[in-house]
């Protein structure tokens, strides 16, 4: 894959640029309006109205927020390690966007007689009609998410503030603890799919008219993976790295202006990635009734599923209180990890006998 770059037609490059733009804009817009949606949804859940002033029902709020952050004064603490302080938000943001390269967000569509698979890092072999993508897609996402933590850790360290340092330490400890269980939860999906290519995994869930989702075969794994993912992206109830009641704002205490905005965006972009990955692995990706007949319907299904999961995240945030630190570690190492291991064993045994 990707090796015969110069041997491909022009259309390939145009389609590629278009796909990158679409995915990028999708994430960017969703990030912007997820902040709005979060405030609105939590507001209504807590019987408040949320933002109402900017535009109709506060619809322009994200834009106003963005402008505000953009024009704020940039402060670099005098005791901070400048290099690391400046690079940390970038490190946090870039992997969050990079993960979207391997997530298939639709089937194969045909534009001007040229077939385009709706997944950024993929190409279609015209002769056989087969779609080739990164054959270690899931691992690629895990790799990217593990790189993202550097941004948080560095931010915490470079700020030279004890709240930030605490936040950074907590983030790294949390990530290491929960990445294990998340990885093991995915393993049980691999055992069913026997491939690591996300495109293949989605295709295998297309049975029963697009409803052969892995969540029905692996409910426990789906549950585990989603919990661990929420922990990995530091959202409530696992938002200890930025617990405002104890650590002011955790690792981003000392950040201001655009750099703060970048952390903010990274957090929401990570949330979208995680929801997209959960959709791909467990909710059948873009599969759904009639998605194979009308390729664009697949796109709609995909976005709908992702948005539902994002809503679910917000719902959790409005409902659950934050964990205490030792409870968090206890949950990760003594509850989720054993369960995911047992799940693998059970999957193995059942898989052996059923086959």
């Amino acid at each position: 894959m990707g090796i015969e770059i110069l041997g491909l037609p022009m259309m390939y490059y145009i389609a590629m640029v278009a796909k990158v733009l679409v995915a990028f804009l999708f994430v960017l817009l969703t990030v912007a309006y997820a902040t709005y949606a979060e405030r609105k949804i939590i507001g209504h859940m807590q019987v408040r109205l949320g933002p109402m002033r900017t535009g109709w029902h506060g619809l322009l709020q994200p834009i106003a927020d963005g402008l505000k952050l953009f024009f704020k004064e940039e402060i670099i603490p005098s005791q901070a390690s400048t290099f690391a302080f400046l690079i940390a938000p970038v490190i946090a943001l870039v992997p969050a966007f990079m993960t979207f390269a391997v997530i298939p967000f639709g089937g194969v569509i045909e534009v001007a007689g040229y077939k385009i698979p709706l997944q950024v890092a993929s190409y279609i072999d015209v002769a056989s009609g087969k779609v080739y993508d990164v054959n270690v897609g899931v691992l690629y996402i895990l790799a990217m998410s593990s790189l993202g933590v550097y941004g948080i850790v560095l931010a915490g360290w470079a700020s030279n503030s004890k709240y930030s340092l605490m936040g950074g330490l907590r983030a790294s400890a949390q990530l290491i603890s929960y990445e294990l269980s998340a990885g093991l939860a995915i393993v049980s999906v691999f055992m069913l799919s026997q491939t690591l290519s996300l495109n293949e995994i989605v295709n295998q869930q297309s049975s029963f008219n697009g409803l052969g989702w892995y969540i029905f075969k692996q409910p426990l794994a789906a549950f585990l993976f989603f919990i661990c993912s929420i922990a990995e992206i530091n959202r409530t109830p696992f938002d200890l790295p930025e617990a405002e009641t104890e650590l002011v704002s955790g690792f981003c205490t000392e950040y201001s202006s655009m750099k703060y905005a970048m952390f903010f965006m990274a957090e929401y972009a990570n949330m979208i990635t995680v929801c997209a990955l959960t959709t791909t692995l467990f909710l059948g990706g873009w599969n759904g009734p009639f998605a194979t007949v009308f390729p664009l319907l697949g796109l709609v299904y995909f976005v709908a599923k992702v948005y539902f999961l994002i809503f679910f995240c917000m719902w959790i945030r409005a409902t659950l209180p934050r964990y205490r630190y030792d409870q968090l570690m206890h949950l990760g190492w003594k509850v989720l990890l054993p369960i995911s291991l047992v799940n693998i064993v059970v999957t193995g045994i059942i898989g052996y006998f059923i086959k």
Binding site: V136, L142, L147, Y150, L154, W157, E179, D326, M329
Partner: protein
């Protein structure tokens, strides 16, 4: 095309490693090392070994280095004192070994590579990798797991605090320690 990318990445990896060694600040050094590891990972990808590439990032850049960073932050090693330069006799072993290493490297680079016996690169599916690993090198896999087990035993033994030992605080479960951390700031 791949050649250009390869050379860029190779340069990044080498420069990153050199900087990681020469940098006095441990956190910066780790950052350079991560950069270098990442570049190496992409080189692996170019060499048709996506699995190795991803594992390089997940394990080395993603897990081990984060742990290093974690430890350095915990121990607060971020403020390097002005390093005293060791006596030449203490340099001697390092010098000797680097000479051996550089000499062999130069030998390899200078020599003609007509007799390379490594099979030509082709992307190997994960199924094939695991089959080779667990069938061809089963004993090695088992050995590694045994080794990790006993490294764990050793680390636990050396790290375990003894209640009876003088001068040390009474042993406490790590959870409680991290729990009390919350209140300290």
């Amino acid at each position: 095309m791949e050649q250009i990318i390869f050379y860029i990445l190779a340069a990044v990896a080498v420069i990153g490693t050199v900087l990681a060694i020469s940098e006095k600040h441990p956190v910066h050094a780790i950052l350079y090392l991560v950069t270098s590891l990442f570049a190496v990972a992409v080189v692996f990808y170019l060499l048709m070994a996506p699995l190795v590439a991803v594992f390089e990032v997940i394990l080395y850049a993603g897990a081990i280095m984060v742990l290093f960073l974690f430890v350095i932050m915990m121990l607060d090693l971020g403020h390097p004192e002005k390093g005293f330069s060791p006596h030449w006799r203490e340099w001697l072993p390092a010098l000797l070994l680097s000479l051996v290493s550089i000499a062999s490297l130069v030998m390899v680079i200078v020599s003609r590579h007509s007799q390379l016996a490594v099979p030509a690169a082709q992307s190997i599916p994960i199924r094939e990798v695991s089959r080779r690993l667990f069938q061809g090198h089963g004993v090695a896999v088992e050995l590694i797991s045994l080794q990790l087990l006993f490294a764990l035993v050793g680390a636990l033994y050396l790290g375990k605090q003894q209640a009876s030992s003088p001068g040390l605080p009474p042993s406490s479960a790590p959870e409680r320690v991290s729990g009390s951390e919350e209140k300290s700031p």
